[in-house]
Symmetry: C2
Subunit: 248 residues, 2 copies
DNA sequence: CGAGCTTTTGACGGTAGTCAACTGCGGTGG
DNA sequence: CCACCGCAGTTGACTACCGTCAAAAGCTCG
């Protein structure tokens, strides 16, 4: 795990408490989490956090920033599997006995909250509601992956791009990252293509086509969708990545 | 929910207790599950169980048989998202407040164990270990979906087919469905193509090519892999769908 | 100003999709 | 009993979406 280690901020000051899209913890839960929390650390944009293949003794909650998770095949082909927004949990799979099958890279500078995987069992025993929330998060993640799978398996290149844009914007809205209906985030076309199972060149051409159609404007630093309803209709997107989520 | 309703078999007689790949429940857990269980029912091969879009008041554990889960777009395009083997949980997402985004169809005659979603909270409160197991299952499912996503996004048609075959056989072994190193199950080529994001015709041709290469033999009723090591190598498959799983 | 990354563009090729017809098999019913 | 139907699989011809290769143009940064 790379990154600069930091002080241990109190959970009462947790930045996620002010996040619109997240259901805040109650006092008892905060107190428990305070003891559960091992610390925080930040990572810089572009750096790896979890590394594929390693067994991590930790679980993390993303406090700020955006990451993405990916898997890489032996010959280098990469598939980006999902994006991680504030409040999302990382490393749960690794915590469940198995070596980590995916890596994680930061799209922006980010800060993570660290928990010990060994003590997850305590969490279930002492805070059933938090255990339930953990399952909720896992189920939601599963649902997002399913939608993603539908895109890659059955949607055309243009539809995939539109779906991804909508998904990211919905998640951005829920986590307060969207301003003036556009999401400021740097995703390279190479990353987009690895997300959608397309080649870089084709991704580029498809993006241009969508700009021309006025469906999605996606530059290196910003995503915006002029008319969300039209876009959803075009891509046959129904998923709901918004809504209130629990966390930690 | 279609299907014939049945008597309520005791959990002590649960067929899953004898399944090699599943970690059996202890007596306390069995007792709890007995009260938690609402009944059983069977569905016939080819029938729908969960229906996309509905809100189900139940969660199910598959006791016998094999199902698959899928999502359908408005215009009819279908993506099969995963296969369900004995011991797997179904409907967790629906239980977590959201309308069900996928449907479920039986590949064989199957029998399901029914639980009430309302009482899931009790489970977390009274049986933390089972709550943990639930999360474990969700995390494992997530992991399987990721691997599937890598296939559809980044593997060639031949690799995808080989991966799927390996995955199904591994799961079949773990649940005792594999005999003489071949899995007897009826999956149509149409279903395969909807799983892998390919067209029906291309799936057919790819299957033939793999038969010719001697990598995978996949007929309407049976899947077998002559040399598992060679197949794994060919498909760059590392995932581990085997291993002991918890259930319920 | 040059190095390196990202985007863009052009040309070409191949994997995979579409359309369509035909075979084989099992079940149903006249 | 056999014609008929429906489903699954197979095959051929054609198309096109998308991948690969290659090169150039913009940008950022040291």
């Amino acid at each position: 795990m790379t990154g600069r280690s930091q002080w241990k901020r109190d959970c009462i000051e947790c930045p996620l408490l002010e996040c619109e899209g997240l259901r805040p913890l109650d006092n008892g839960q905060l107190k428990f989490m305070q003891g559960f929390k091992q610390g925080e650390f930040t990572i810089d944009k572009g750096t790896q956090s979890l590394v594929q293949g390693s067994i991590s003794p930790h679980v993390y909650t993303l406090l700020a920033g955006v990451l993405f998770r990916y898997r890489i095949l032996e010959d280098g082909r990469r598939q980006i599997v999902n994006f991680v927004f504030p409040g999302d949990l990382i490393g749960l799979q690794g915590a469940m006995d198995d070596p980590l099958l995916h890596g994680c890279e930061a799209l922006t500078n980010a800060t993570l909250c660290v928990f010990s995987r060994d003590r997850i069992v305590e969490l279930f025993a002492e805070q059933p509601q938090l255990g339930y929330d953990l399952t909720w998060l896992a189920a939601k993640e599963e649902s997002a992956l399913e939608e993603h799978l539908v895109s890659v398996g059955r949607r055309t290149a243009q539809e995939r791009l539109v779906c991804l844009a909508i998904f990211l914007i919905e998640r951005g809205i829920a986590t307060g990252l969207v301003k003036k209906s556009s999401l400021e985030i740097s995703i390279t076309q190479s990353q987009i293509s690895d997300t959608l199972g397309l080649s870089l060149v084709h991704t580029n051409r498809t993006l241009q086509a969508l700009r021309k159609k006025g469906l999605v404007n996606w530059s290196l630093t910003r995503i915006s969708i002029p008319d969300m309803a039209v876009a959803c209709d075009f891509a046959q997107y129904e998923g709901n990545a918004g809504g209130i989520r629990p966390y930690i």
